[in-house]
Symmetry: C2
Subunit: 82 residues, 2 copies
């Protein structure tokens, strides 16, 4: 069966996110002053061929750990769409 | 009230995603051969000060249109967490 895994990779809460801070400044310059904070990460859609949802989740987690995220600076969440 | 908006910006389906193709090759090299396709976009968390969920959604959409996405190459989805 084919599953779609969504992997969200975000910078850790305690770390400064310079890209987010730059975008926040840009939004304020555009007049969107009600925006207080911006954090920017990656959203990765992965198509996985697997026997079960659990297997797909395991493969997506392995991909996130081995390649897609840097666990020193980022955390990730895996969601399998059914 | 303070709302958290999640904005997901992804490359359009019909466009080639070279970054995703490179990651797909990397995953295959790592032995994750059951992965068929990868597409990579941005995930943006925005804190918004607004009177209502509708107003927060409107501000997040304006931010996505004006700055966060390039509508020639990308589409976006806004979700307000309650």
């Amino acid at each position: 069966m084919n599953f779609t895994a969504q992997i969200k990779v975000m910078p850790l809460k305690d770390l400064l996110d310079p890209q987010g801070k730059a975008v926040l400044g840009g939004l304020h310059n555009l007049g969107l002053t009600s925006v207080d904070d911006v954090r920017i990460g990656k959203h990765i859609d992965v198509q996985i061929e697997a026997a079960s949802k659990e297997e797909a989740h395991q493969i997506a987690t392995e991909a996130a750990v081995k390649l897609l995220s840097n666990q020193v600076m980022e955390n990730f969440e895996v969601t399998i769409l059914s």
